[in-house]
């Protein structure tokens, strides 16, 4: 009988946690009894448990002591106690990385793996595979193959799963066991089926034909395992996505049929797969949605959560498909699980009508304080989308958002709200005053400098245009008095904008500026002095140039130009005109609303593409003396996307030179692209006049090929690329677009011919 918790023990015994005051050195000392004979299984078991517990708690074991303990543990193989042996296997796995020479147990494990005791065989296999390296793997290959097709399910499962873990280490060896895995897949045991299918897929996933065949076989023969079904659904949807198969293919029918499977897990997997498929029509979605609707009223929270999360995704692309579920979703708003409630509300917000907005907003405000930050951001984003959909409801939204702004919350959350308010202000001029008022109230007590400066910048931009700009000045000036340096500096800039735009406010602004000139921070003082002087001139042109319009050049480009300037001593002053204009930075488009894990990483300024190219080219010694990059073109595809290799060309224009950058990418995984040659030659049928420039040099760097052309007037260029591995001759002809070049050259046309022929010679990649 298991010992029940005895009140007496608590008072007198070792406390409620026998592991509480474990000391590593004491336990390792105790482990010396492993060497005694006869072995006392109970005591040894307890000590092993303590060791594993310590490891699990994060106790650090030095290599020497770990190895000692490990070697001592190997003595315990002499005992026949089952639990002790199992714990030994566990210890081997836990200590495999911290002890040396763990492979000494290989022979014992191999013996157990092929022995008579079935209860040892599975765990022994798993322990053995944990310590095996590539050299040993060949030695045990025979045993592994036998184990995979063993009739005992636990042995087969253990072998299959261990084989999967070893795929990373030695794909080629494990691939030889594919026949055995195939045989195991026809087992009756539901877990063996699942593991076999998984291993087969991992081994074959690069071979689309093999995967298709495998799927066809299993969908026809039918499997019993719900896990295997889920796996097959995922494989099928991946195949559909890769082949861009139409939805009348048998794969889609299979997934659809899984909606009627008797296991909820499979039904849900199928519904989820259908929902995620691109280009799904409403008719195809309907059965999936109705299944999800049923799940919404399930007593199991996990099922409700899964259903509402998936419906939320449907609502993004097909809001009309979800309307049928609105009633069920409304019931979920009061669900005790807040995650479910939030998802339900945001789904309704996407699909609800304008009249329901008020009611929904009221319901959200009641519980928004209880949900986690990730979900709060989701709610704000949903509201943002809603504002765009129903602009007339902006006052309700604005109220709600300002309340949320007053509550506690992290930086991501507050930022999402501020962004939402700003977007409402920008879209709805009527909401501007209320919006700005809410934001002013927010910056009175805002701990996030980034947000405060953003809002101050906005106030500077929008405030002067409002009917009563003076009321904002108080808020802004308070920032100058109370806040940190960055905020004060931003406040000064904002004030300047007011002064520049409103003549009647100018005297007051000048007075305030004077006070700012006495600030303790030099940035604030500099700005105040600068703006004072500009404003005192009272000239519109000056105001426009220095107060309203910011830098029109890209900041990294400016930095680079300044650096260049400092390197070359020159009498001439620095010329802003040499700095390339700012191009739009690369930003990731988050078009879909998702809960994002709140992250504390600071936002980095996204450099533009041009700046990246500038840096890359500057790193190459041959291109040092060319000056500044004027413009880079977009990459142009010179080959079709499905060919064995893909070539793109980017043109970089300098003052007197042009660089053509060719990116060659090999699309085949198991072919090595060797001997890529770039030949330039003359082609006579473009533009009539073709004079290939004398100064052509080809530079190879980092797998990219650059062709540098100097002093170009007009030219045409043809390039041949040879790939010795491909048979037959094909010619691809693509015309590059004719871009207008920098000063000095006329229209440029580029014709690229790609030809490849078989070649026996081996060569290094150039």
């Amino acid at each position: 009988m298991i010992k029940k918790f005895d009140k007496k023990d608590e008072e007198s015994g070792s406390g409620s946690n026998p592991f509480q005051h474990l000391e590593k050195s004491a336990v390792l000392q105790e482990a010396r009894i492993f060497n005694e004979t006869p072995i006392n299984p109970r005591r040894c078991l307890h000590i092993l448990t303590k060791i594993i517990y310590l490891l699990n708690q994060g106790e650090h074991f030095g290599t020497t002591e770990a190895t000692e303990a490990f070697f001592a543990m190997t003595r315990l193989f002499q005992s026949n106690d089952q639990t002790l042996r199992r714990m030994c296997y566990l210890t081997i796995k836990e200590m495999a990385n911290i002890s040396e020479d763990v492979i000494i147990v290989t022979s014992s494990l191999t013996k157990d793996m092929t022995g008579k005791e079935d209860v040892y065989r599975g765990p022994a296999i798993r322990a053995l595979c944990r310590i095996t390296d590539t050299t040993m793997l060949q030695a045990i290959e025979r045993y592994m193959k036998q184990a995979i097709v063993d009739k005992v399910p636990s042995v087969s499962s253990s072998a299959l799963v261990s084989s999967l873990h070893m795929v990373k280490m030695s794909f080629d060896v494990v691939k030889r066991w594919v026949n055995e895995a195939q045989e195991a897949a026809s087992s009756d045991n539901i877990m063996v089926q699942y593991h076999a299918l998984g291993l087969l897929y991992h081994l074959r996933k690069n071979d689309r034909l093999a995967v298709t065949k495998m799927l066809n076989k299993f969908t026809k023969s039918g499997l019993k395992s719900p896990f295997a079904y889920c796996m097959m659904i995922r494989i099928a949807s991946k195949l559909l996505e890769e082949t861009e198969g139409g939805h009348d293919s048998p794969l889609f029918d299979f997934i659809e049929s899984c909606l009627r499977n008797k296991h909820e897990m499979v039904v849900y997997e199928a519904a989820s797969a259908i929902v995620h498929m691109p280009n799904c029509t409403a008719r195809e979605l309907a059965p999936a949605v109705s299944v999800l609707q049923l799940f919404c009223s399930s007593p199991k929270a996990a099922l409700r959560y899964a259903a509402v999360r998936t419906l939320n995704k449907v609502a993004m692309k097909h809001p009309s498909a979800v309307t049928a579920c609105n009633l069920d979703l409304e019931n979920l708003i009061t669900d005790s699980n807040r995650s479910i409630a939030t998802l339900a509300i945001t789904t309704l917000l996407k699909t609800g009508s304008e009249s329901s907005v008020d009611r929904l907003m009221k319901q959200i405000s009641s519980f928004v304080s209880e949900i986690s930050d990730e979900f709060k951001v989701v709610v704000v984003q949903a509201i943002s989308a809603l504002c765009q959909k129903y602009p007339r409801k902006h006052s309700v939204m604005m109220n709600f958002l300002s309340n949320m702004l007053r509550d506690d919350g992290g930086f991501e959350y507050k930022r999402a709200i501020v962004d939402c308010i700003i977007s409402i202000i920008e879209e709805n001029p009527e909401s501007k005053e209320t919006g700005l008022a809410h934001l002013c109230e927010f910056i009175e007590d805002c701990e996030h400098t980034v947000l405060a400066t953003k809002i101050l910048h906005l106030l500077g931009k929008e405030g002067p245009r409002t009917p009563t700009p003076s009321k904002y000045i108080r808020f802004i000036f308070n920032r100058v008095v109370l806040e940190s340096e960055a905020v004060r500096a931003a406040a000064v800039s904002a004030l300047a904008k007011f002064g520049a735009q409103n003549d009647d406010l100018l005297p007051s602004v000048l007075v305030l500026m004077k006070r700012c000139m006495m600030d303790s921070d030099d940035e604030v003082r500099d700005r105040a002095t600068f703006y004072m002087n500009v404003l005192q001139q009272k000239q519109k042109a000056l105001n426009a140039a220095y107060i309203f319009n910011g830098l029109s050049v890209s900041v990294p480009g400016l930095e680079k130009s300044l650096h260049q300037y400092t390197l070359e001593p020159s009498e001439k002053p620095f010329d802003m005109k040499t700095v390339p204009l700012a191009t739009a930075p690369i930003t990731e488009q988050k078009t879909e609303i998702t809960p994002v894990a709140t992250s504390k990483l600071p936002e980095k300024l996204a450099p533009s593409r041009q700046d990246i190219y500038q840096e890359q080219l500057a790193a190459i010694p041959e291109f040092q003396g060319l000056g500044l990059l004027f413009k880079s073109s977009e990459p142009v595809q010179l080959t079709e996307a499905e060919t064995e290799y893909v070539v793109r060309c980017i043109k970089h224009t300098f003052a007197n030179h042009m660089i053509f950058q060719f990116d060659c990418t090999n699309t085949l995984n198991d072919q090595l692209l060797q001997r890529v040659l770039l030949l330039t030659g003359e082609s006579s049928d473009i533009l009539g006049s073709c004079a290939l420039s004398q100064r052509v040099s080809v530079v190879f760097a980092d797998g990219l090929k650059y062709v540098l052309l100097s002093d170009i007037k007009s030219l045409s260029l043809s390039c041949h690329l040879h790939n010795p591995y491909l048979h037959g001759l094909k010619t691809f002809c693509c015309d590059c677009y004719r871009a207008s070049c920098c000063q000095g050259s006329k229209g440029l046309g580029l014709k690229v011919m790609l030809a490849y022929a078989p070649s026996g010679a081996d060569g290094k990649q150039q």
């Binding site: 298991i2 029940k4 918790f5 015994g13 070792s14 409620s16 026998p18 109970r42 005591r43 307890h46 092993l48 448990t49 699990n56 994060g58 089952q82 639990t83 714990m87 566990l90 209860v119 765990p123 636990s154 253990s158 799963v161 999967l164 877990m191 699942y194 593991h195 998984g198 291993l199 991992h202 996933k205 896990f227 889920c230 796996m231 995922r234 949807s237 991946k238 909820e264 897990m265 849900y268 995620h276 498929m277 199991k300 996990a302 899964a306 993004m316 005790s336 995650s339 986690s372 930050d373 990730e374 506690d408 992290g410 879909e592 609303i593 894990a597 709140t598 992250s599 504390k600 990483l601």
Partner: protein
């Protein structure tokens, strides 16, 4: 109260993404906490997920703070789906990626809970758990291997582990062990006495 967000970028694992890459690796972590949020057992199967002990304990603390007050079964935290269950003074958690099939994770959690429940004769509470910690380690090892679901039927797990929970719990080892040893010695004595008598008769 804002949860301390994990310092590593998990923005890639947002809730919404393309179809999940087919893989047997479904479980990212499993852990058992007591009702103060202290770790009793935990295993992390994804090497990229919280590789250091500090990050792991931080994660467990955050998860505990968000879930111990109300037993809601499922939560979404730090970019991952977490299913959980509590019993008297213990909390059981199974963690998967945001796009994972929640019902699969629930199957794992249920298997874990049912297996332990059977093994501990329905006394799923901290003291009993710790007294049979070796069995608990073995049960977890039989259910998940390296992030792959190895077994989902609690009955099968119990059979494979074959753990006799009537063993002497750790805290009582000295007393019971003493008795066992005494008994063993007595039986040895009896055995040798029997042998001697047998031989003396045969002679």
């Amino acid at each position: 109260m804002t949860a301390q967000s994990c310092p590593r970028q998990h923005c890639a694992t947002t809730m919404d993404s393309a179809a999940l890459e087919p893989s047997l690796y479904t479980v990212k972590a499993v852990f058992i906490l007591d009702n103060d949020g202290n770790r009793l057992l935990s295993k992390y199967y994804d090497p990229e997920l919280y590789p250091s002990m500090k990050e792991q304990k931080n994660f467990e603390k955050n998860v505990f703070n968000k879930t111990h007050k109300a037993d809601h079964e499922i939560a979404f935290l730090e970019g991952m789906t977490i299913v959980y269950k509590s019993s008297i003074d213990l909390f059981f958690y199974v963690v998967g990626s945001a796009q994972e099939n929640e019902l699969m994770l629930m199957a794992v959690l249920n298997c874990l809970f049912e297996s332990l429940s059977q093994m501990l004769r329905k006394n799923v509470e901290k003291r009993t758990l710790l007294d049979n910690m070796d069995g608990v380690f073995l049960v977890v090892d039989e259910i998940i291997d390296g992030g792959v679901i190895l077994e989902s039927d609690p009955q099968q797990v119990i059979e494979k582990v074959n753990y006799r929970a009537d063993d002497n719990p750790l805290s009582e080892q000295s007393v019971a062990q003493h008795i066992t040893e005494k008994l063993a010695r007595t039986s040895n004595v009896l055995q040798s006495a029997k042998e001697q008598i047998k031989w003396s008769i045969l002679k």
